[in-house]
Symmetry: C2
Subunit: 371 residues, 2 copies
């Protein structure tokens, strides 16, 4: 792995991350391919949106189809037909958000599989074993996502456990070409975050992520943590803000110095008939779109806007045609990647703050859903 | 419209049908685009499968989004982004199969909308009005689908009503370029079928369809009607067997002299994880495909087989990923169009009977689902 920062605009930075399966311009947004597919779309469509790296879920893929099946294909890249970089999460967040009857031990977490109710155990070594089998370019350390709200004591205990788990992850050897990122926890307590980061840096990782944000806390809380902590993260390593987010959060994250993001919003909202545009969100259920023969967004160069009307997409959404979910996903993925391109250009030209103000003014107008 | 038969192999024939939006090689199979989309796929993907004409449903489109919305786009072609020929059915079959509280009057059918429970009226004039608004290349006369089984008296009464409705359909003026096909009914009674055809030919249509087949009757019944009736249909007009069918039914239909078919099987079965191959159906639920790294069908040139394994498709199907339904649909559409190409070639070379025997032997082997 090589990571180079080519330009800085205050705390924001742009650069390039070279991984085993290709390079990624940063700041980068990673579409989420939970179960071996970015929902509804093919790898070609993901690539056409401008995405250079996608995220795969260790938790989901470990349960179904299981590592044996994926290993038979020589890894996740070939299994799903995506030959670019893949980052896999550790499963820690899903254990926290999806699994029932969770028991946290020092060794790892025992829980009930949401697929078949069987008892599953996932700890640092298991997560590394699965991610090694998946063959992802970037492996994430297995962590515990600290709940929100959490007392200082809870947050500290949880952060320290994640740190011990991170050390165990680092001790596992990965496949050639794979790199490992550590995840800083500590809830909304800045000193705990600093302690977590220091501990991770002492162990030494190829990149550092902020976990446990965007978990229900007020926006101001996340902003405070981001602004305080991000500038203290290693300057020469990629910084990844996990599970974020909305366009406004991406702008705030980049401004604070973040290089990588992932979020299900563009894909999930597409399936719910929410389409992102520079003028705010188009909600297809809104009757104003009933006979709208224009595209979702005038001037948008995505394949959906080039060919289909808002009216048609609204119809597909209303009748539950899968094609609608797909066409909307294609637009949203394109929108997010376009935004990242614009953000990178703005950083390169030292005008991120101005770009963000202009973007947010227009985006907040909500005009897209009016006419 | 121009229709020319270029070659005959016993009763089978191949030719070309020239419609307002392009030409169609016959015998042709029309994928079904019920609600303004061939489920899960784009018009480009339909085109790449080899399909030259698709079917749209008057019943569904009339209810949602309604003709006003489609007229705003200048018709169904632009609404859905398919610029090739479209045939629209009349809604008669759907009224019979989908609508509740159906009351059949001489004027038409009053029923409860399956969408919102409101009372809807559909008769010959209403069906023509909707199909004119849709702007399809081929308009189907509004008919009553005779139930199976039906007494001779019921079948006769129903057939005569369809004939009177057909006359009223013919009296409605369509848009320039649109052509109108009549639909022969008469249940399994050959003399009623002959009477129906004679009545339709007296009125005069651009093509003739057989309705009320493949509605639950034994295969031998359909074969008998087909073999007796098809050769009596106008030789210089296209003959369309509605709602058919399985590969074996397509072969039987072509052998009897049919030129056009439509069926939801390739698309619906794809969504259920059934994939057509020359060696029979691959059922993705079958555990033999769990780690199968080969394609659905060796040598198949469809985009799905070129890139994805049976194992991957099985996984997508198991976890309910929409992408799976789509990749399977692409394969099945391709398979059906390939079969039609092979059938046309066999007819042209006077070897349909031999081709059919060879195909059915292999297809019936079921080998595809074994290893």
């Amino acid at each position: 792995m090589r990571f180079s920062v080519s330009h800085r605009d205050r705390y924001a930075r742009c650069g390039r991350l070279q991984l085993a399966h290709g390079s990624v311009d940063t700041p980068a947004f990673m579409p989420v391919g939970t179960a071996g597919a970015v929902k509804t779309v093919t790898p070609d469509e993901v690539r056409l949106s401008g995405a250079q790296i996608i995220l795969g879920n260790t938790f989901h893929l470990g349960l179904r189809p299981g590592t044996e099946v994926i290993e038979t294909h020589g890894g996740l890249h070939r299994f799903m037909g995506w030959d670019g970089p893949i980052l896999t999460d550790s499963g820690g967040f899903q254990v926290w958000s999806l699994a029932a009857d969770r028991e946290i031990h020092e060794a790892g977490v025992r829980f009930r599989s949401p697929v078949d109710g069987s008892i599953v155990f996932l700890g640092p070594e298991e997560s590394m074993r699965i991610q090694r089998a998946l063959g992802s370019d970037v492996v994430m350390a297995f962590d515990e996502c600290t709940a929100y709200p959490a007392s200082r004591e809870q947050a500290s205990e949880s952060m320290l456990r994640s740190l011990r788990w991170a050390r165990r992850c680092r001790a596992v050897s990965l496949a050639p070409g794979q790199v490992l990122f550590g995840i800083a926890q500590g809830g909304m307590y800045e000193d705990l975050r600093v302690e977590s980061l220091a501990g991770l840096e002492e162990i030494g990782f190829d990149g550092y992520a902020l976990g446990g944000l965007s978990v229900g806390e007020p926006k101001a809380e996340m902003a405070r943590v981001l602004e305080t902590i991000t500038p203290r993260m290693s300057a020469d390593k990629p910084r990844y803000l996990m599970g974020v987010g909305k366009p406004e959060d991406l702008l705030a994250g980049v401004a604070a110095g973040i290089d990588m993001f992932d979020c299900v919003l563009p894909t999930r909202n597409a399936r719910n008939g929410w389409l992102y545009t520079a003028n705010g969100i188009v909600r297809l259920k809104n009757a104003v779109h009933r006979s709208a023969t224009g595209p979702v967004e005038e001037g948008c160069e995505c394949p959906t806007c080039g060919r289909y009307s808002r009216s048609y997409l609204r119809h597909l959404h209303s009748v539950g045609e899968m094609l609608g979910a797909r066409l909307c996903t294609i637009h949203n993925l394109y929108f997010f990647q376009s935004l990242m391109r614009d953000i990178r250009a703005a950083v390169t030209q030292d005008r991120l703050a101005g770009f963000a103000r202009g973007f947010l003014d227009r985006y907040a107008s909500g005009k897209a859903d009016v006419a």
